[in-house]
Symmetry: C2
Subunit: 201 residues, 2 copies
Amino acid sequence: MVGMISRVESAAATRRALVDAAAELLDEGGPSAVTLREVGARAGVSRGAPYKHFADKESLLSAVAIEAWERNIAGQRALRADAALAPVDRLRAALTALIAVGRQQPHLFQQMFTIPSGDPAAVARVAQRSQDEFLAMVAAVVGERDARRYGALLLAGAHGVTAMEVSGHLSTDKWRVTAEELVTHLVELVATTAPAAEPAT
Amino acid sequence: MVGMISRVESAAATRRALVDAAAELLDEGGPSAVTLREVGARAGVSRGAPYKHFADKESLLSAVAIEAWERNIAGQRALRADAALAPVDRLRAALTALIAVGRQQPHLFQQMFTIPSGDPAAVARVAQRSQDEFLAMVAAVVGERDARRYGALLLAGAHGVTAMEVSGHLSTDKWRVTAEELVTHLVELVATTAPAAEPAT
DNA sequence: TCGTTCGGGTGACAACGTCATCTGAAACTC
DNA sequence: GAGTTTCAGATGACGTTGTCACCCGAACGA
């Protein structure tokens, strides 16, 4: 029958609700606000239920970070598919998107770059895929040969400025520059310095 | 009598021991390993003693971060006083020092850039002083006029690459570049692109 | 139809952050 | 120097949290 839910479907739905609830609590009050009891409550299950889907609290938070990385990947794919954008604009848009996450969901941003203690490979793997996507965008601007070198520069710069703003260390009074301006500046710097520019994919 | 300890001296010594113990535990096992009970034990006092010196656990961790920033400031001052170094070398050394902290004390590095929830201004203030020091070093290379713009770029880049390495997102297989190489590259990029270079202080 | 599997609920426990309260000695007042 | 105040530290206690062992019931496979 249509709409009938099997056991695996129900379990998957619960897992979804758990991750969503955890992400919500993380946004609202940081990692310490993510209690398994409250997560269970918001997901409509009991306090022990999360343990049927995640090894421990940190695995749950890792799942939240992993989904954020996957959204990041999807966003970059969409940018690459947008034919209306010049390669250098795609680059800038991708980095600006990272800044936007930091601005709108600072705790999530920090979680994405937290030292993993459980399974280090889990978050790292999906982050690597995001970087692959980004590398392709860089290659379209500076060429395949120097993509890695400049890609690391761009990504580090964007992440660095966002992290500084998130943690309150980027006083615009002092630096007289916004995160977006800095990224734009950095992209221009790379685009003009880089040896060769190739046509977009 | 020499060696006699007054009450305030004893209290200051306890505070020192508490911060040291917290820093030690942070290095060993991350923020979750810093329990007030263990901190008290290592400092030779009881579990409730820290509350005579810090409002709560987070204030204690903030104190650890603040001391790390102060060491950073002292290091930068030493670099600026070293007449044997060219201005651009001082810059690179300062950024490399930041990377070294991330490598050797990853949890401390994260703590230095954590979103503060208690007194946001406390950590931010000392971080600002570190940036003032850094700004002066940048000005010696690219001139006063563009120091802010390029300073933010350099600092963000160094912090970004360190954070990526700390969180395991900087696969050297993929990027074929170490954090130091990237910083060196960035410094050269700025030094050659910047409009004017002025003599060192 | 009969086990099996497995998501979910519940009781329980240790550890933790935090506070109210007590204590004793140093510091201050006269 | 006696009395008073101040304050670092110890301790008992409480609520909360992460975690696990155990139980239950419904969906699934044979």
